[in-house]
Symmetry: C2
Subunit: 434 residues, 2 copies
């Protein structure tokens, strides 16, 4: 081929220099040879936008590369590519749109922005004919967007189930393996820097819901917003649930589940009982993993670090090399195809087996009364385990696959049964052969 | 952008129509809409090269698309892209070279060919400036080449460890979980179609060695041939080993290991003890998985179906969509960078902890004699377990990290110790924190 070969390095404008940004600066410095071999040209972090110019940097870059003026960097004709790792919706959204419209490829790690404004940004990128890459926005260093968009480009994805929040997976692992309470495990996670001082976004499932929306959007080519995601966190999961999960051969995991069925899409985040033999069950500590079921490919799982400067920067750099390769070869940007609107299945209409724990008076006839309610609502019991606690008994049920609405109706009815003292945990069972 | 948009479908010449080829024809037919949305243009299987025109086909394609003349298809100016799923080295190699030189991108699932002639073929593709994609050649449907080449493009890979042969993983799983003998598990695998009538290539590790060579080539950008891979199969693994592995908290897996250390590369295939908590330990039945350790990304694992028509065709189709996208957008081919020659570390110089099983006379002083030999050769014992069997005893040792040559010297010396009746299995321990 006789393309004119670009030899001067591609100049990157880096928006944000926290954990991920500074890890990226280090990687680009340390792996310069590897990167230019792979990208076909050198990559230079030409400008870095920070909030505070006075803060100490690690010295990989001369001080005059730093600036607080993000607008100027995005508009600078000397900047070829923009990397956004500042986080938050604004001003990141406006900056990215300006960069794309100026013909600059953008690489981002911004989960919130892609989850909330992905469709708008994808359209801007497509119009401009440049790359918008966001591998790092979901599951940190795990290659996920690229496999979904490229490796499985000819396959039809049926379901994606992910452990996409490291904080909650750490907490659940400690509860299961060290017998910690939720509060102790959370405190430990905070000490290790896995959980924020305000852990709400993690433990209530909001972080996972944003990731679930991005996964569903890309896996099904449909517009899915975090508001479409039914979300339950792990604050209600008890030591009891985890212990009886183990007895029954399950582990409790916070899962993000995105399913396509007969043209409709269901996306949800909730704690779930996962059979011990399922590959997701062995994902421990703060690791993430995403399990994909494709029509042709069958079962696939991608496992790794979902957060942290190094893993996230590695994903950003993979995207950056890709964007640079396309830029120098004059390839058209890897745009997301037209997103469609598809009906969203409400949680009440979804189906799964259920785990139910309840406390009842240990009296003759109680089981028959309870079983009767299950039957009346069309919920079939797969297994039951009874343990006495003084004059009361604790019953643990696993149902066959049942409609969520029917299970809820059963539970409402059971609360009115005299001998039922308390309906405790209700957990969906996921990943079991139906 | 104002590129002229190609609207007529891209015409594919398919070489081979066995398991994978016919699954590909089905996928292209069933997912036509999805594929043209992703590729930006329709894909048509225009010609199919088969050995026997008389054989019944499933009717997705008109009979006149089939031919026995591979040369004509490769040279046909109407053919835009070549997909090679015929297997074997020749005539596949010559056909692919002809196709690449004619400017046609090539997608292949041919492990043997890429392992033996990859560097030659990569160079031909680079010269011609067209894509040569081979995701399906290693680990079937698991996205592996793409993550190694693209997602981790800016990261430095330290080690890759894979369960890349489904047959042997099935056999080892049955031995561990059902207590089968090697012979019974092999017979079962043959019945299920997981193992060939002649299972040599699988059970002796040759299939895994070819895959290890490809993985090392791509992970380290170096020329590695299957002849560079130290290879041990699983025929020597006994029910005893598997039982004592379990007692000690390990499972036995056939691993392909590729490591880079101080500029040198070590590549080997052998059965190994994997700690039960390691993600590779939970890869059961005929599933494959590849565990990657990158400098920035940390630990990554990719899990899925390593063989079978559907998974392999899914990987081929992912590559095909990519090649077609590049073709219509006029992008330069995604060539493998210049491969380098790097020193290969001989197996004797590699290090790992070892599991050693031996039978000794149950006499006073025996342990001291044995421990003396370990010490003399600089091999340090981490744990020892003794079980009596009549007048003899069986000793199981786990060593600390030791040089393979030192362990071999220890074993040679132990064979000369009077009280040592038999040195049984010797297995490397892999995946343990050092």
């Amino acid at each position: 081929m006789t393309d004119p070969v670009r030899t001067d390095p591609v100049r990157v404008g880096l928006l944000g220099c926290g954990n991920v940004g500074s890890a990226l600066v280090r990687l680009v410095d340390e792996h310069a040879d590897l990167i230019s071999a792979r990208a076909g040209v050198g990559i230079e972090i030409a400008r870095v936008v920070v909030r505070d110019l006075g803060r100490e940097r690690d010295g990989k870059l001369p001080a005059d590369r730093f600036t607080t003026d993000a607008d100027a960097v995005v508009r600078d004709p000397e900047i070829d590519v923009v990397v956004e790792v500042m986080g938050g919706v604004e001003p990141a959204r406006t900056l990215m749109i300006d960069a794309l419209r100026a013909g600059k490829p953008v690489v981002t790690a911004n989960k919130e922005l892609i989850a909330r404004h992905g469709p708008e940004l994808f359209a801007v990128a497509a119009d401009a004919g440049v790359d918008l890459l966001f591998e790092a926005s979901v599951a940190g260093g795990i290659p996920l967007m690229r496999p979904l968009r490229e490796s499985l480009a000819g396959d039809r994805i049926r379901r994606v189930m992910g452990i996409v929040n490291g904080t909650t997976n750490y907490i659940l692992t400690r509860m299961a393996e060290a017998g910690s309470t939720f509060a102790d495990a959370l405190a430990e996670a905070q000490e290790l820097g896995y959980a924020e001082a305000d852990p709400t976004a993690d433990v209530e499932g909001h972080d996972a819901a944003a990731k679930a929306a991005i996964i569903a959007t890309i896996a099904f080519g449909a517009r899915v917003s975090p508001d479409d995601v039914y979300t339950e966190g792990i604050t209600g999961v008890t030591a009891d649930d985890i212990a009886s999960a183990e007895t029954l051969g399950y582990v409790v995991k916070l899962l993000a589940v995105a399913e396509a069925h007969e043209g409709a899409i269901a996306v949800r985040v909730h704690p779930a009982m996962v059979p011990m033999r399922h590959p997701l069950a062995s994902v421990r500590d703060s690791f993430n993993a995403v399990f994909i079921e494709g029509e042709a490919v069958g079962e696939l799982m991608l496992y790794g670090r979902g957060a942290g400067g190094g893993p996230t920067a590695s994903a950003v750099l993979g995207d950056l090399v890709d964007a640079v390769k396309n830029l120098v070869s004059g390839a058209k940007g890897a745009t997301i195809g037209e997103l469609v609107d598809r009906p969203m299945t409400p949680i009440a209409e979804t189906e799964s087996p259920f785990y139910l724990l309840m406390e009842v008076a240990d009296q003759p006839g109680v089981l028959s009364a309870i079983a009767g309610e299950f039957g009346r609502h069309g919920v079939s019991i797969k297994s039951m385990e009874q343990r006495g606690i003084r004059t009361d008994a604790r019953l643990v049920f696993i149902t066959h696959r049942a409609r969520e609405a029917d299970v809820r109706a059963t539970l409402a009815a059971l609360r009115d049964v005299d001998q039922v003292r308390r309906v405790g945990s209700v957990l969906r069972v996921v990943g079991e052969d139906d």
